[in-house]
Subunit: 356 residues, 4 copies
């Protein structure tokens, strides 16, 4: 079934296709009295916006957001906030090939198998364009959790990882890769350029850290903070893996190595001597930084021909012409940040409901 | 907030603590007319049951399940199925230490931070004992999806991985590790024994494959099949990472390497030449095997002392005496299988609702 | 909390305020492959549209709906359908009085008590204008249940009821009251005119009958068909009572009078000799016509002054100037019909999920 | 589909059949730190318990509740509270007639139409016995809203209404009808006795008043306080109508009669001069008493033969032998109270989530 709503208490519903007139999100459950205007949302959309460097798709979308409801005299009213972004650059091209043949790695075949047909223009609903709606909703979520600071960055492209010793948060905004390691950013420039020129694409790993999350947010079992983060991030286009804290590396540690020992801190709040757990224990925040790692596969749209079949089941080959991101993980950074913000805003309200 | 219900159409709610009189699950939304008795559930509980080898906790629980509702004359009626498992071996020990000091890696501090206090006996609600309820519910889910075959196994313990060349599914039931590689199983025996004797613990990776899932099950965005699987698996105790298909390895491939090319198959159903995607594209099943990998951290309960603090914020040290699994990932296999079954049963019904 | 989504499987979310730029609905879960264009929705909006007779508010709204997503080449795709209606006639008037004083019978005081402030322009989110979004969503729902025929009408205004002996469904469209009794319609003209001229308002009872609902739709307990209908109708502005079948009159019958005896019909389908139950037993449709009755209070906006208080808690008096419906129940007919359609579409999909 | 969970933030799930081994409820989302033991729940179950007078069914059920989880050292822990009530007096009788023929007014035919078959023993899941689970859950809900006082009573049996002039709340506990008018109670004794001796049954109207609900609880649209109350009460067995405040009578008032004028009160809290609205405006509590009226049809089980059909579609006649309530509305009082408590507890937590 189609489930286009995410969240339990702070919820959002997105709608829209790559080549329809517009896309949007309805944010429901936002507390009243929060100052909100388009200018609180636009910077995050600009961060995700396509066409800003040669390392992203050349589709030109201004991604101007409009608030259609839920705000009165500059403050949220507690009623649903409708956000709309018009699609501008839906290039009028010939989609007959994509209409007929299934692009490997894309949702084409799966949509046809599910629904019997699909909107093939630019991927329709399965296009990463939908993530602009998440970023817009995420910008509202950030205002609900002013105590939290969320920082995302790319830590690896095409298998080339940053050097933790070079980690410098101020570098993140200085290069088109959201890369905190200036040297890695320089290497990636060549790497991504080469892939782009080959008509190929690269995968990436995005990391996101949320500081300031109070101990106690979260839930013990099926809406666990880590479970919700996993659902949120695995729901982003092209994502194939999610780790909390040390993730798979924790599976190679011994118990005493993986423990996060505590020492007396301020009052009843301990100081943790390590953070293998990524700030979450038993589904509940411990007060340490929340750490999430997300694996993005290489963009499925490539110019290198791949064997495939037509809707009628006949053999063919396809090259995905047109505009695409050589490394879709790069623009994944603001999307991961948005999803983390949305989960945390939801958990803040849920915690307040139960624990006052 | 406490959310102890999982699923949208096929749903289950679990209840119970490690040291209460019983634990259980209520399964709601199960289709009518399915043959169901305790004997359909018990084998899966037996697979997860503690105390069956020296590589698992020595707590002795018969884990006998009772069906209290929802079945009439041997068939499900379409009404909620209440499953109950009595706790038998709640050893009467002295919990004063755990009551006072926070065990690192456990949910002790987080629960106190959230709720103000906690049931400290055996971890209370945060105990992995709760997973017996999931396994019981999962056994019902399996009956809803008879077309699907679900196979879980351990692929790595303490960093020692199986050799894919030795993969033999019939081996899985021949050793106490659910290990499909007989040679690895032999090595793990020594490995886990050594950790146990050291009072330490080991992490593990569990893999699960579901075959027979029809193309089309799943959903495009926020109840994506991969997103739901991620939430389900990340919601299991001690899990820190989830991958679908190649997962993080996909982030190191180029687009043409990661593509799953298609060739003509039977009618409109293509043959896939690879399965990097793990059987899911755009959140929807492609008809290929669904592949999930799950990272379990080493058991947090260890006999090696770790620095910690008391509830009053004073420095202390704790060794987790008592019975525990030296490698909690081993008994994670039936739990991962159950969660996969529960997600797939849910998605089957959801698909039927929308697409008839 | 704000919950602007209704439905479980066929869901819709509405947004928008009386005096914002637009209002709208996102319909999620609609099956794919259904022919849908604006022309399928517009007639129902026209039926509800204000300003069409002197018996409704004089606000002039064309209520032109736009489909922004979810339809491709004239067919629903299975993805969310975004519907938008621009607000045109937000008269620029002076709202300072309403901003300061609470209109009795309106949500003014309650909104302030909940949210700390409110969008006072035309009632903001609490305006009956929101029901246009429901009517638009309901038009989509009707297409999901082509086997069902839904007919609403006004059966009573200001205590003056129709005569069942005069019931003629073709009359419903012949008068501005959706009245199936031509004689009553003539009386109501004078009645409503008089109230309007007095600056007063009248209550009404709306009845709605759905035929063609197959036996079996519905659910036994907490999503009972009658319970869902009650929630749906009690959620409409100005509604204060809901009855299924004989409703309160059933409480005055004896068991043998209230029984709906059965006789053999076509195969296993019985013929019912009565329908006191209104087509629902145990929360599940019996195959008989579903009958719902809904009580609308008189419009709270009246020109007769009423005692009230200001936001600061001081005594004052208020007359609600401006445009309003002298009998809001009249335009309630298409809204009740829409809500019934939305509930039935949802229950159809839910039934399909569980019972195949 | 089967939906056996009610509530959004404070939720409960019920399970069990009339003639199974037990029935029960799982309460999820209850705040931590509330003192709770069986003795807080038992009195409410005793109030609903069958067999306490000749005016209720003669089934003898002790209805002893057990708390199986969620409470530690006398306090709720914030985790799910599992409540179980064993069935004791499932009389071993011959159900072959009910198995074969559909009892008019019961869910027999509808269940068969939905599920293909049914548990016919005592009505199975559709038995009013399920309401014991609601009463148990409702007892927990009451503890979440100590500021609220909930009082239910019967205001009408078989069309014979109480006289408001005789209303005396202390009378409610003095007669077997929960009747606040001693004279009416005396009349009802004869009335119900006569119906019982005739093998017939009577309908009733139950009223419920909740005082102390703070202005602001509730929600504006689809989880409106009135809408939730309507769903909750219409979901009770045998209920056919729900009114808030004046209900259908409001449809016969003029605007100025139906207005609830306000005068200055304590600070910003006004004094209302009337309460036609029943304490709810725009879906949100106004701080006045919440007033709900609920219509119960006469018990469908009667000894007077009624025409019906068999499962095979053949004509027959049925008399519902065995134990039954001559007026099911009487025992509806504690059930309505419980549902009101459950809705209010939920709305309290929801309000806290959004408005802090």
């Amino acid at each position: 079934m189609s489930f286009n709503t995410f969240g339990r208490s702070f919820r959002f519903t997105t709608w829209g296709e790559s080549h329809g007139p517009a896309i949007g999100a309805v944010v429901d459950g936002c507390p009243p009295g929060i100052a909100l205007s388009e200018s609180d949302i636009q910077p995050w959309l600009d961060k995700r916006r396509p066409g800003t460097s040669r390392f992203t798709t050349q589709r030109q979308e201004p991604d101007q957001v409009r608030i259609l409801s839920g705000v009165f005299e500059g403050l949220t009213t507690g009623t649903p906030i409708s956000l709309m972004i018009e699609n501008v650059d839906q290039r009028s091209k010939d989609y007959s090939e994509v209409a007929q043949a299934y692009r490997p790695g894309h949702a084409d075949y799966a949509y046809d198998a599910k629904y019997g047909f699909r909107d093939y223009r630019g991927g329709g609903r399965s296009s990463a364009r939908e993530t602009a709606s998440r970023v817009a909703a995420g910008a509202v979520a950030r205002l609900v959790i002013p105590q939290v600071q969320i920082t995302g960055y790319v830590s690896e492209i095409g298998g080339d990882a940053i050097d933790p010793a070079n980690f410098n948060p101020t570098e993140i905004g200085n290069n088109p890769f959201f890369c905190p390691d200036a040297k890695a950013a320089a290497r990636w420039e060549a790497l991504v350029d080469a892939a782009r020129k080959d008509g190929s694409s690269l995968g990436a790993v995005v990391e996101c850290v949320a500081t300031g999350v109070p101990a106690g947010w979260g839930a013990p079992l099926y809406a666990k903070l880590d479970s919700e983060l996993a659902a949120a991030c695995m729901g982003i286009n092209a994502v194939k893996g999610v780790e909390i804290g040390d993730g798979f590396a924790a599976a190679r540690l011994r118990g005493e190595q993986n423990a996060d020992p505590m020492r007396p801190g301020n009052g009843h709040t301990p100081i943790f001597l390590a953070n293998h757990a990524g700030g979450i224990a038993g589904g509940i925040a411990t007060g340490q930084p929340i750490r999430v790692r997300v694996a993005f596969k290489p963009t499925s749209s490539i110019l290198i021909p791949v064997e495939t079949v037509t809707r009628e089941g006949e053999a063919t080959e396809i090259r995905t012409k047109g505009r695409h991101d050589p490394c879709v993980g790069i623009r994944g950074v603001p999307v991961v940040e948005a999803m983390v913000a949305l989960v945390l805003a939801d958990q803040k309200l849920l915690h307040r409901a139960q624990c006052g």
